[in-house]
C-alpha cells in the first residue's frame, strides 16, 4: 500500500509510540511472568484494609535530627516490624523525620509499642554464657523454637579481632567460669551455685568481675527461655547494671556486665573481605568497626582488660535492643580506634552485622502521631465507588468533547484511552519497582487528571481552529497550530508538574499518591499529545472528511467563521476555491 508522503512523518512518530507501549507492556509482562510483579497495581492500605501508623521522633530539648538518622531509624523499625512476624509491612519516611509504617491487618498494642521505643546498642563484657536450647523453662520446652528473624546475626559465631586468625564458634556453653545451671534439666537454681562465682556480697571491681552475678541474676538466667518471645521481651537493659539476655538467634544466653561502650560511640562499621599482608583479599569476611574519641578510649579499656581473662569472660557482647547480636572474643588490647570482627561470615551476614552496628544506636523514641485502621470492607467499597466516579467523569468529558468538537472528539477519546493505557502500565510498573501503592488519593489524582489531559487536547484543537479561522487550509492549520499549542502545553504542563512535585516531596503520606499520579499523568499527557494526538491529527488532516472540513468534523471552516476569501499564495484562494468546487459538485 502506498503511503501518502504527507503521512510518513506522523506514521514514524506513531510507530515510536507503539514501540514505547509495546516496550512498557513487554517489560511488565516479563517482570510479572518471571519476576515478582503483579499485573495489577498494588493497593494502598485505605483500599485493601490495614493499619497505617505515623511515628514522629521524640526530640529532647534542642536535639535535631538529620536525614541519616531518619534513614537509620527506618531501617531499624523495618527490622523490628519484620521481626514481629508481620509480612508485607512497609516503612517509609515522610516530610522531615516522620516515619510511616503500613501494616496489613491490625497490629496488637505490644507491636505498636515496640515500634515506638528507642533502640540501644551497647557493648558489655560477658560474664556467663549458656546454651539456650535445654532451657529448663517449665512449660514450653517442646515447642519449635520460633527464632526471631532479625536478618543478620545468627551465623556469625563471631570471634576474633584485628589481624589474627579468626576463631570459630562461641566457646562451649557455660565453660570455665561457672558450673552449669543448665546442666540440670529442672529449674533448680539454688543447687547450682557456680563455683567460680565468688561471694555475691563482694563489690564488683570492674565490669568483668564475676561478682556482678548475684544469685538473683542467676535465677533469672536459668529461668530465661530464649524460645519464648514473652520472656525475651521482658529483658531489661539498664546500662548501669548487669543484664541477662539471649543472643538474637535465640541459641545462647548470657549474663553481661554493665554497659561500657555505647552505640553512638561507634563512628562507622563496614563489611569487607579481609586483606592479607601483601594486600590481596583473603576471601574471609570481616566487619570493621571505627570508634569516635570516647569510644576508642572505652573500647581500649575493655579489650585491655578482657584479653587476659579466661573464656567466656574474654568475650564482649554487642547488645542491640536487649539482645546479643554478636559476642566476639577480644584478642588483644585494641586502642587504635578500629577493630575488626571475623568469624564464619558470609558477605550478607557481614553486611547485616555492619549495618546493625552502624545503625544500632537509635537514641530516639517515637510518638505515635496517627494510627489509621481501615477495615477491608470499607476499603473495597471506596475503591469501587472511586472507579465509578472515574467512569462517570470520563463519560462526561467524552460527551462534552463530542458535543464541542464533533468528530475531533474521537481524537480526544482515543488519546485519553492511550493515556490511560500508558498510565496503567506505568503505575503497575512503579508499584513493582518503587513499591508505589494505589490509594484513594491516587485514584482521585487519576480522575482529576482526566480533565488535565483532555485540557491539552482542547488547547491544541482550539489553536488549530484559530488557524482555520485565519483562513489556513487544514493541513497547514494543524502544523502551525501545533507549533504554537506545543509551547503552551509544555509550559502549562510544566507548571502543573512543578506543583505536583512540590506536593510530592512535602506532602503527608496519605495524599502522596495524589501528587504522584498527578506528576505521572502530566508526563504521560505530554507524551500522548506529542506522539499520538498530533500525528493522528496530521494524518486525519489528509483525509477527505477532515481535510475538507466536513460539517461533522469539528473543523468546518464555514462553521468556524472563516467566511472570507483567503489568499493562499500563488494565486490560490483557499475557501473560495473549495466552495466553488463544492458547488460545482452539487450542480
Amino acid at each position: 500500500m502506498a503511503v501518502n508522503p504527507y503521512n510518513r512523518g506522523p506514521l514514524r512518530t506513531l510507530s515510536v509510540l507503539v514501540l514505547l507501549i509495546v516496550g512498557l507492556y513487554g517489560l511488565l509482562g516479563a517482570v510479572s511472568t518471571w519476576g515478582t510483579a503483579s499485573r495489577t497495581p498494588k493497593l494502598g492500605l485505605d483500599l485493601s484494609g490495614g493499619t497505617e501508623l505515623i511515628l514522629t521522633p521524640k526530640l529532647v530539648g534542642k536535639q535535631a535530627i538529620n536525614q541519616g538518622q531518619v534513614t537509620k531509624a527506618v531501617d531499624i523499625i523495618r527490622a523490628r516490624v519484620n521481626g514481629s512476624g508481620i509480612t508485607e509491612a512497609e516503612v517509609s519516611t515522610q516530610g522531615v523525620g516522620d516515619i510511616v509504617v503500613s501494616l496489613p491487618g491490625t497490629p496488637d498494642a505490644a507491636t505498636v509499642a515496640s515500634l515506638q521505643k528507642s533502640s540501644q546498642l551497647r557493648m558489655r563484657a560477658v560474664l556467663v554464657t549458656g546454651s539456650a536450647a535445654p532451657t529448663p523453662a517449665p512449660t514450653s520446652t517442646g515447642t519449635p523454637t520460633s527464632t526471631p528473624t532479625t536478618p543478620a546475626t545468627s551465623t556469625p559465631k563471631a570471634t576474633g579481632t584485628t589481624t589474627t586468625a579468626p576463631k570459630s564458634g562461641f566457646p562451649p556453653a557455660l565453660s570455665a567460669a561457672t558450673t552449669a545451671p543448665t546442666a540440670t534439666p529442672t529449674p533448680a537454681p539454688k543447687a547450682t551455685s557456680p563455683s567460680a562465682a565468688p561471694k555475691p556480697a563482694a563489690k564488683p571491681t570492674n565490669a568483668s568481675d564475676p561478682a556482678w552475678v548475684t544469685p538473683q541474676l542467676e535465677a533469672e538466667f536459668v529461668a530465661l527461655n530464649c524460645a519464648n518471645p514473652k520472656s525475651v521481651e521482658a529483658i531489661v537493659d539498664d546500662p548501669a547494671k548487669p543484664m541477662v539476655t539471649c543472643s538474637s538467634d535465640g541459641t545462647e544466653k548470657f549474663i553481661l556486665g554493665p554497659a561500657e561502650v555505647q552505640g553512638d560511640e561507634i563512628a562507622n562499621a563496614t563489611s569487607d573481605q579481609q586483606t592479607t599482608q601483601n594486600g590481596s583479599t583473603s576471601g574471609v569476611w570481616e566487619v570493621v568497626l571505627n570508634f569516635n574519641g570516647a569510644g576508642t578510649t572505652a573500647f581500649c579499656n575493655v579489650t585491655s582488660r578482657l584479653v587476659s581473662l579466661p573464656s567466656p569472660r574474654n568475650q564482649f557482647g554487642i547488645v542491640l535492643d536487649n539482645q546479643v547480636i554478636s559476642a566476639p572474643v577480644a584478642e588483644g588490647s585494641l586502642c587504635a580506634g578500629t577493630a575488626s570482627i571475623t568469624g564464619n561470615f558470609t558477605a550478607t551476614s557481614a553486611k547485616a552485622l555492619a549495618d546493625q552496628l552502624k545503625y544500632g544506636a537509635l537514641p530516639m523514641s517515637f510518638t505515635l502521631q496517627t494510627a489509621d485502621q481501615i477495615s477491608p470492607t470499607l476499603g473495597s467499597d471506596q475503591l469501587s465507588r472511586g472507579l465509578l466516579a472515574g467512569g462517570v467523569g470520563l463519560l462526561l468529558v467524552v460527551a462534552y468533547s463530542l458535543f464541542q468538537y464533533r468528530a475531533l472528539g474521537f481524537v480526544t477519546i482515543s488519546s485519553l484511552l492511550i493515556a490511560a493505557l500508558i498510565t496503567y502500565g506505568l503505575v503497575t510498573l512503579f508499584s513493582w519497582s518503587q513499591g508505589f501503592r494505589m490509594t484513594m488519593a491516587g485514584v482521585t489524582g487519576l480522575i482529576v487528571s482526566i480533565g488535565i489531559v483532555a485540557d491539552s487536547f482542547i488547547l491544541y484543537f482550539e489553536r488549530v481552529r484559530d488557524e482555520v479561522r485565519d483562513g489556513r487550509a487544514l493541513r497547514a492549520a494543524v502544523e502551525t497550530g501545533w507549533g504554537r499549542a506545543r509551547r503552551t502545553i509544555l509550559i502549562s504542563d510544566g507548571v502543573n508538574f512543578l506543583a505536583a512535585a512540590v506536593l510530592y516531596t512535602l506532602a503527608a503520606s496519605s495524599v502522596r499518591g495524589f501528587a504522584f499520579t498527578l506528576m505521572l499523568t502530566t508526563i504521560v499527557d505530554i507524551v500522548v499529545v506529542m506522539l499520538f494526538t498530533h500525528p493522528l491529527l496530521s494524518i486525519l488532516a489528509n483525509t477527505k472528511f477532515f481535510g475538507q472540513g466536513h460539517k461533522w468534523s469539528g473543523l468546518d471552516p464555514e462553521r468556524l467563521g472563516a467566511r472570507n476569501v483567503t489568499y493562499a499564495g500563488r494565486g490560490r484562494v483557499t475557501i473560495a476555491a473549495r466552495r466553488a468546487a463544492a458547488e460545482g459538485n452539487q450542480s
Partner: protein, 391 residues
Amino acid sequence: MRSFSQFGNDLYTGKRSIDIVSRQKTWYVVSLILLVLAAAGLFGRGLNIGLEFRGGSEYQVAAVSNFTNFEARAKAALGTVNPGSNVVVTRIGTNTVRVQTENFQSTTVTAKVKSALASQFNVGANSVSANTIGPSWGASVSQQAITALIWFLILVSLVLAAYFRTWKMSIAALIALAHDLVITVGIYALAGFEVTSATVIGFLTILGYSLYDTVVVFDKVRENTQDAIGNGRQTFSQAANQAVNQTLVRSINTSVVALLPVASILGIGYFLLGPGTLLDLSLALFVGIAVGTYSSIFIATPVLADLREREPAMKELKKRALRYQAAQTRNASAVASEGDQPGQAGTAEAGNRDVVHASSGGVTSATGRPLHPYVQTGPRNQPKRPPKSKR
C-alpha cells in the same frame, strides 16, 4: 452548539469583543468584595478544622443495616469503654456510621471501642475502621503545607519569569493565585466545610491549576502584544483584551472539561461515600478551579495590563496605536462617505488586528466577488487603480 462556536468565532475575529481589560476597576471591586467576604468568613466564622488538626479518634462502621437510634447506640458503645468523652455520631452515605471523639486514645482502647461498636451494630470486626490522630499531627501537616506553598511560589515565579521573560507576568500570575487561594479558603470558612489534610492538599493543587489557566491566557497575551509592539496598531491593553477574548472559549472549554471529572467525584463522594479523602480533595479542587478560571480572565490579565501600561515603552506604544487607529477611523469614514457598503467598514473595530478581515467584506470586485485584502490595494507600491467600469 452553533451559537457557542459562533460566539467563539466572533470573539476570535474581534467582531464581538468583551471589554475585560478596560473595565478592570469593575473586576477589582468585585474581587475586593469577594476577598473582604472571604476574610470576614476566615476571621469571623473561622475555619471548620477537621479532626486531623485537633487530634482525636474517629471510627467508621461500614455495612450497617439497622439505623434506628444509631446515635444513642454508638454513644452507648463508646460509653462502656471510655465514659464521659465528647462523642459526635454522624451517618455517612447509605450504610456507614461515623463516630468521632475528642481524645486521643491508645491502641488498647481503640481495639476495645472497635469491638464494642462491632457488636453494637451487629457487624463483623472487619467492618470497623479506626483512625487515631495525635494532637501535634495537625501542626506538622500545616507546617508542611506552608513549606510546600513557599517552595512552590518561589519555583513557579522563577519558571514563569524565565518563560515569559518578564517578572511582571509572574507578579500578575501570583496575584491571581493569592486571590484564588484566599477566596477558596474563605468559601470554606463561610460554608463551614470541614478542613482536613486532604483539603489542604486540594488547596495546594489549586495553585497549579489556577496557574495553568493563567499561563494559557498569558501565552496568547504575549503573542498578541508582541504583534502589537511590532506593528504599533494596538495599545498593550487592547492587545491583552483581544487575547483574553480569543482564549475565552478555550478557557471555558478547558475549565468545563477539568470540572466535569471533579464534579463526578464530588457527586459520588457526596451521595455514596461520605467524608473522606475523595470528597475533601474534590471539593477543594472544584471551588478552586472555578475561582481560578475567573481570576485568570478577570484578574490576572487586567493586573498585567495595568503593570505594563506604566512602562514608558508601553506609553509610547499607546500613542502610536492611538494615532494609527485614528487614521484608520478616518480612512474608514472616508470609505463610508464614498457610499460603498456603509456600516460594514465603520463597525470594524479600530486598531484591531482583524480590521483587515472585517473590512475585507466591504470591498468587492466589479463582478461582486469579495476581494482579499491582499489584492485590494493593488500591486505593491503602486497607486490603486479603480476597475475600468468605474473609471
